[in-house]
C-alpha cells in the first residue's frame, strides 16, 4: 500500500524538483547528440530528442522537456508540445527505425498545448500520425512516465512495447482539473477527481495500461535523483534485453496486440460476419 493518496501523488508528479528528460539523458546516456527541428517549419524545445549511447549502444531518446528555470519553462512552454514537437519526434523515430536503433522515451507533460497556432498547424493530426507511426515501428520501444502523463500529448510518446511508470508518476485521460470541470462543471473538485480517475502507477499497472512500476527512493525521486537514475537504468537494461529477443515484425505485433487488448469486458468479435 502506498502512503500517498492519488491527490498527493499528483502534487509529487508535478514537483519541479523531479528529474526531467534532460536529467535522465545526462545521467543514463553518453554521447548525446541533440536533433532539432521538424524539417517542415519549426523547432519545438518542449520535446527534446536525439541520438545517444545507452550502455554503449546507439539509441534514439526522446522526451517532454518542461525546463528548470522560469526562462527555460517559458521557452519549453512548460512541457506542452506544439505540432512541431510531435513531427520532430516522428522524424527521429523514422530515423531510429532506419538505423535499427531502439527508441526510449521519457513522458512528462501536462498535455499538448491548446493554443491557437498549435491548432492552426494541426495538433490533432500531429498526435494521430505519431501514434500511427509508433504503432508500427519495427525496433524496440520503451516509454517511461517520469512525472505527469497528461492526455493525448503524453500518449503520443508512450505507444511503446513497454510502458513503465515511476512509482509516484501519474497518467490520465485529462488533468484532474480538466476532468472535474468537464464532468462536474467545477474545477475545484480536482481532488475528488484524482480519486476516481485511477491515475496512479499502481492502478494503471492493475488495469494493464502500464507494464511496470519503478520504485522511487524514500521521499520520492525529487529527494534522491541518483537512486531514481539507478532504478530507471536497471529497468531499461532489463526491458531492452527482453525486447532484443523479438525481431522487427514481432515487435510491431506485440505492441499492436497489447494496445488492441486495452478496454476489457467487451464481448469477442461477432462470429457470423456478412
Amino acid at each position: 500500500m502506498s502512503r500517498y493518496t492519488p491527490e498527493e501523488k499528483v502534487k509529487i508528479a508535478r514537483d519541479p524538483g523531479r528529474p526531467g528528460t534532460a536529467d535522465f539523458i545526462a545521467a543514463l546516456f553518453t554521447d548525446f547528440f541533440e536533433q532539432r527541428g521538424d524539417r517542415l517549419c519549426g523547432e519545438d524545445p518542449s520535446i527534446l530528442g536525439g541520438i545517444a549511447r545507452f550502455h554503449g549502444r546507439p539509441v534514439t531518446v526522446i522526451g517532454h522537456r518542461k525546463g528548470k528555470s522560469l526562462e527555460e519553462n517559458l521557452r519549453c512552454n512548460f512541457g506542452m508540445p506544439s505540432p512541431e514537437g510531435y513531427r520532430k519526434a516522428q522524424r527521429l523515430m523514422r530515423q531510429a527505425e532506419k538505423f535499427s536503433r531502439p527508441v526510449i522515451t521519457f513522458v512528462d507533460t501536462p498535455g499538448a498545448y491548446p493554443g491557437k497556432e498549435a491548432e492552426e498547424r494541426g495538433q490533432g493530426e500531429a498526435i494521430a500520425q505519431t501514434l500511427a507511426l509508433m504503432s508500427a515501428l519495427e525496433v524496440p520501444t520503451i516509454a517511461v512516465v517520469t512525472g505527469e502523463g497528461g492526455s493525448g500529448g503524453a500518449l503520443a510518446l508512450a505507444m511503446a512495447n513497454r510502458v513503465l511508470m515511476l512509482e509516484h508518476a501519474v497518467y490520465s485521460v485529462l488533468s484532474p482539473e480538466g476532468f472535474a470541470s468537464i464532468l462536474w462543471k467545477d474545477a475545484s473538485r480536482a481532488g475528488e477527481a484524482c480519486g476516481v480517475m485511477k491515475l496512479t502507477a499502481q492502478d494503471l499497472r492493475r488495469g494493464g495500461i502500464v507494464q511496470g512500476v519503478l520504485r522511487e527512493p524514500e521521499g520520492g525521486a525529487h529527494t534522491n535523483w541518483e537512486a531514481a537514475f539507478r532504478t530507471v537504468d536497471a529497468a531499461l537494461v532489463k526491458e531492452l534485453a527482453a525486447l532484443d529477443k523479438l525481431r522487427g515484425p514481432a515487435l510491431a505485433r506485440q505492441r499492436y496486440e497489447m494496445f488492441r487488448a486495452m478496454g476489457q469486458g467487451l464481448p469477442p468479435a461477432g462470429r457470423e460476419e456478412p
Binding site: A112, E125, Y256, G265, P274
Partner: protein
C-alpha cells in the same frame, strides 16, 4: 432490441413520407447556429441543413447511412458490442442504460457494411446523441473491428466522425482507444486499404487526434468544428477571443488539412466517385 429497431424504422419511414410530401406539419425547428426558426419540413427536405444559414445540424448515424447507402444494402456489423465501465464510475451504468433507451444505440458508434452506387464499403459512423459521440472502449473497439473487418474483406473503409473527444467516465481506458484505433487504421492502410475520413460537426479531442486525422482522403461537411482542443479551452489558455471561423472546416481546408468540403446532399456522389477511382486497387 426489437422495439428499438421498429422505432428506428418508423422514424425513417416518417422522414421519407415527409420528403415525399405525404405528411404535412406546421412544426418549426430552430437553428443552433443562426437562431432562426424554419418549418421542420423544410429542415427535413434539406437533410437537416439549416434553410436559412446552411448549418449542417448533427444527425443520427442510421439516418446518415440511410441517405448515403444504396437501398437495401445496409448490414449492421458488431451490433451487439456494448460499453464497459472499467473505472466503476459512479452513475455511469445508469447513464448508459438511459441513453440506450432514448437513442436505441448501445454506444456512440454504428458500424455497417453497405454499398454506394454499387461499390461495397465498410462504414463506421459516430452518433453525437450518445454522450456527444465521445470515444470510450466500445467506440474504440468498434472502429478497430471495422478496420480489421475491412482489411479481411479487402474493402474500403469510410468513417464519419462526430465527437466531443474522450469518454471521461472511462478515464485512461478511453485515452488508450486513441492508440488502438490509430494502430488499427495504420495496419489497414499498410495492407493497401483505402480509408476515407469524413468530419462532421463537431469533432474534437481524442477522435481528431487519432483515427479521424489519418484518412487517405480527408473530407468534411461545411462549417464543421474540427480541432484537438475545444475553442473554450483555447480561449481560456490564451486569454483572447478566437476569430470567426476558427477551427471550422473551411479554415482547415485553407490550412491544408482537408481535401474537400462536401455538402450533405453530395456525400453519395462524392463517395461513389472516390470508391470508383480506387477500384481494383488502382491497377488497370
Amino acid at each position: 432490441m426489437n422495439q428499438t429497431f421498429s422505432r428506428r424504422r418508423d422514424r425513417l419511414l416518417t422522414y421519407r413520407a415527409m420528403r415525399e410530401g405525404k405528411i404535412t406539419s406546421s412544426r418549426r425547428t430552430g437553428c443552433p447556429e443562426c437562431g432562426e426558426e424554419s418549418a421542420s419540413l423544410e429542415w427535413e427536405r434539406g437533410l437537416w441543413v439549416c434553410p436559412q444559414c446552411g448549418f449542417h445540424r448533427p444527425i443520427d448515424a442510421y439516418y446518415r447511412l440511410a441517405n448515403i447507402l444504396d437501398p437495401g444494402s445496409f448490414q449492421e456489423l458488431e451490433e451487439g458490442l456494448s460499453p464497459a465501465d472499467p473505472l466503476s464510475f459512479p452513475g455511469y451504468p445508469a447513464k448508459l442504460a438511459g441513453l440506450e433507451q432514448s437513442t436505441g444505440l448501445r454506444d456512440a458508434a454504428v458500424a455497417a457494411l453497405g454499398k454506394v452506387d454499387g461499390h461495397k464499403a465498410v462504414f463506421a459512423v459516430l452518433d453525437s446523441r450518445f454522450l456527444m459521440g465521445s470515444m470510450g472502449t466500445a467506440v474504440g473497439e468498434k472502429v478497430a473491428r471495422a478496420a480489421e473487418y475491412a482489411a479481411r474483406k479487402k474493402l474500403p473503409l469510410i468513417i464519419f466522425s462526430a465527437s466531443g473527444g474522450a469518454r471521461m467516465q472511462e478515464g485512461i481506458f478511453s485515452l488508450m482507444q486513441m492508440a488502438k484505433t490509430a494502430a488499427a487504421i495504420r495496419r489497414f492502410q499498410s495492407g493497401g486499404g483505402l480509408y476515407i475520413s469524413c468530419f462532421t460537426y463537431p469533432t474534437t479531442g481524442g477522435v481528431t487526434a487519432s483515427f479521424a486525422s489519418l484518412g487517405d482522403i480527408m473530407l468534411s461537411e461545411p462549417g464543421a468544428l474540427i480541432g484537438f482542443a475545444g475553442p473554450r479551452v483555447i480561449e481560456q489558455t490564451i486569454k483572447e477571443q478566437l476569430p470567426e471561423g476558427f477551427q471550422r472546416a473551411e479554415y482547415l481546408l485553407d490550412h491544408g488539412f482537408l481535401d474537400r468540403i462536401v455538402p450533405r446532399s453530395q456525400w453519395r456522389a462524392v463517395l461513389a466517385q472516390l470508391l470508383a477511382l480506387h477500384e481494383k486497387g488502382g491497377r488497370a
